[in-house]
């Protein structure tokens, strides 16, 4: 059922209104429209501006530490007994996750546009830390909105943000998690639209955010493609990435979309199990709707109220997903699957023990699924896991689950 995507088709998306097929778009209150249109125009210009791109590349190389390695997980592959498992090491990026690829790009955009005040939403705190970091780097004022519940479960990252000079706003509304943080960031933006740049942390939000975040994160897939060809002499057979809002996944997938032979797997948070309703898997179990400025798959009740989500990992605990993923699902180009909290914890332990690489709990979802997948594949095939982040931020959560006090 999959369609062959040509370069030409891909370069036409999103269309002029920010649509990916039936998804995406710009569903915001009128006050933000002018800013979004300006951003769209300026970004289109800067995307072709050699000076901007050279600056971005330099930051990625010298500040973020790119390229990140493509590492052969030899022991894990042997234990799994199927395809060769390779790891794209985004956990080695400065600040410990892929998020900084995007924040450095957007912060440069803000600087080029002359905006000095930065706001961001965060779930796990990784995007908040990555934003606070680049704001320190570029001398920008930084405000991070974070659900009060996440402030609790990611206290380490809250402290990191404060050390970096950011103001952290604990959001008390709604379910006190990522979606509510995004609501409050949007509210702040409306009130300070003249001097403020909103650095959205994933490929969601109104057009042009899904486009520009995808562009900034695509460095992951471009490097992987080149490294795979160098190291294995061929393209990978499968790519596996976790999907919260979908930025690390789209960054990995995008440069491979027209390579039909490469299977794409986005792994959502199955929480306590899809049939319990306590999960964060809109692509697996939701339906299309409109939230946070775009049309996409959502978790909602029959009356269109956004549903509460559950995941052991704060960074996947979001009821929506980037619109481009919704489109890739509907045209059958990518597969979206889920793994439960327990399976993810298994993946976390496994990668830690067998390879000495402690993944973020978000990433652990991709690890768990990739191990299952690799076991069904041949020895001469390759699977690449996008290791979107490292697990240090999660040790409190892991300890708690194991009943240990630290």
């Amino acid at each position: 059922m999959s369609v062959k995507l040509t370069e030409e088709m891909l370069s036409a998306l999103p269309d002029a209104r920010g649509h990916f097929g039936a998804f995406g778009g710009r569903f915001v209150s009128e006050t933000l429209m002018d800013s979004l249109m300006t951003l769209e125009k300026e970004y289109a210009r800067l995307k072709k501006d050699p000076e901007f791109q050279a600056r971005f590349d330099k930051e990625l190389a010298d500040y973020v530490g790119r390229p990140t390695p493509l590492y052969f997980a030899e022991r894990l592959s042997r234990e799994t007994g199927g395809a060769q498992i390779w790891l794209k090491r985004e956990d080695l990026c400065h600040t410990g996750a892929h998020k900084v690829n995007n924040t450095i790009g957007q912060a440069l955009l803000a600087s080029f546009l002359g905006k000095k005040r930065i706001i961001a939403e965060t779930g796990a705190g990784q995007h908040g830390v990555a934003t606070a970091t680049v704001c320190a780097r570029l001398g920008l004022e930084c405000h991070v909105f974070m659900g009060a519940e996440d402030v609790q479960r990611q206290s380490l990252n809250v402290f990191r943000m404060k050390l970096l000079g950011a103001t952290v706003h604990a959001v008390q509304g709604g379910t006190k998690t990522l979606k509510d943080a995004m609501n409050d960031a949007m509210r702040d933006w409306v009130a300070h639209v003249d001097d403020t740049f909103y650095i959205i942390g994933t490929v969601a939000g109104p057009h042009p955010y899904p486009l520009l975040v995808r562009d900034f994160q695509s460095v992951i897939g471009r490097e992987t493609r080149r490294q795979a060809l160098e190291k294995t002499g061929k393209l990978p057979d499968a790519l596996v990435a976790c999907v919260g809002g979908g930025s690390n996944a789209i960054g990995m997938f995008y440069p491979f979309l027209s390579d039909e032979s490469v299977q794409l797997y986005g792994v959502e948070a199955g929480g306590l199990g899809i049939d319990t309703g306590k999960h964060a898997a809109p692509l697996c179990a939701g339906r299309p709707g409109v939230l946070h400025g775009n049309r996409t798959y959502l978790m909602e009740d029959e009356n269109g109220q956004i549903a509460g989500t559950h995941s052991v990992s704060a960074g996947l605990d979001y009821p929506g997903v980037g619109p481009e993923h919704s489109w890739l699902k509907d045209i059958g180009r990518a597969n979206y699957v889920s793994v439960t909290d327990d399976e993810a914890m298994e993946g976390f332990r496994k990668l830690t023990r067998v390879e000495g690489i402690m993944p973020a709990l978000e990433t652990a979802h991709a690890v768990a699924y990739a191990i299952k997948l690799a076991a069904t594949m041949d020895k001469d095939q390759t699977v690449v896991i996008n290791v979107s982040g490292r697990g240090d931020k999660d040790i409190n959560t892991v300890a708690k689950l194991e009943g240990i006090e630290i």
Binding site: R17, G25, R26, F27, V28, S29, E30, T31, L32, M33, D34, S35, G173, G174, K179, D180, N183, M186, R187, V190, A191, H192, V193, D194, P288, G289, V290, L291, H292, G293, L298, E300, E302, N303, G304, Q305, I306
Partner: protein, 270 residues
């Protein structure tokens, strides 16, 4: 002519300004909303904006966020809100009712089914906060075909080209959001609002309602001087929050709040 157009024309003929209160349906309880709507009319409302509660009201400040939460605790759905309008219409077929809310509950119900049900219940206009005209090409025709007014927002950041384009997509009135900010957040700068509203009048023949930041007779009169109507929201919703335990007291409090605004607006007429 739509009911909204009729009311606004008649007011204009009398040199009067429209008083347009907003309350969130289902707040503090679905059982009292229709009663509160009648109270608003008795206190001088010309048009009612009835909020459809949403779990993620991104354009609203804390006051209306909490109203949505109170309404949703009782499971107030879009279908129920439409049923409330139907009930209201049994004893009031003169006061226009505008549903104001976010897109997703309408999308979940299905646009065609929503438009049919709204029309059947006697709804007059639809204002969807997160639906700019650019994204309305599927939905807006369903409203127009049923003679439901599609009301769009204008803001301090809206350029002249957009003011013209948005007005072309609108009917009934256009809603000028007087501040950069969410509902209930800031105090308005009357001079700035006046300048912008006068400018909007040059670009469209539609009546202009002004909302956000109107909290008493004084601000109502100041804004009424330049606009065709004033929309009063957060201060009413806050009054509901503070008097939710006692419906009679709540009705008195709402009346006490609206009356002076009505008088202040009417004193502009002479």
């Amino acid at each position: 002519m739509s009911r909204i157009e009729g009311v606004l024309k008649a007011l204009k003929g009398q040199g009067r300004k429209a008083l347009i209160p907003y309350i969130t349906a289902g707040d503090p309880h679905p059982d009292v909303t229709v009663d509160l709507m009648h109270t608003l009319v008795e206190a001088g409302a010309d048009i009612i904006e009835l909020g459809v509660p949403f779990s993620d009201p991104m354009a609203d400040g804390p006051v209306i966020q909490l109203a949505c939460e109170r309404a949703l605790v009782h499971g107030t759905s879009l279908r129920q809100v439409i049923a409330m309008v139907k009930e209201f219409r049994k004893s009031d077929d003169a006061t226009p009712v505008v549903l104001m809310g976010y897109l997703n509950p309408m999308e979940a119900m299905g646009y065609e089914r929503f438009a049919d049900a709204a029309k059947d219940a006697g709804v007059d206009g639809i204002l969807t906060v997160d639906l700019p005209p650019e994204e309305a090409d599927e939905v807006a025709p369903l409203f127009t075909q049923r003679n439901l007014d599609a009301i769009f927002l204008l803001s301090p950041t809206t350029t002249d080209d957009r003011i013209r384009a948005i007005s072309e997509h609108s009917s009934g009135y256009v809603y000028y959001v007087s501040i950069k900010g969410v509902t209930g957040s800031a105090t308005i700068n009357v001079e700035e609002v006046a300048a912008k509203v006068n400018h909007i009048h040059e670009l469209t023949a539609l009546p202009v309602g002004v909302g956000f930041g109107i909290r008493d007779a004084e601000t109502a009169a100041a804004v009424g001087r330049v606009s065709d109507g004033v929309i009063v929201g957060s201060v009413l919703v806050d009054t509901i929050a503070r008097n939710q335990a006692d419906t009679d007291q709540l009705k008195r409090a709402l009346t006490d709040l609206l009356h002076p605004m009505r008088e202040a607006l009417d004193s502009l007429a002479s």
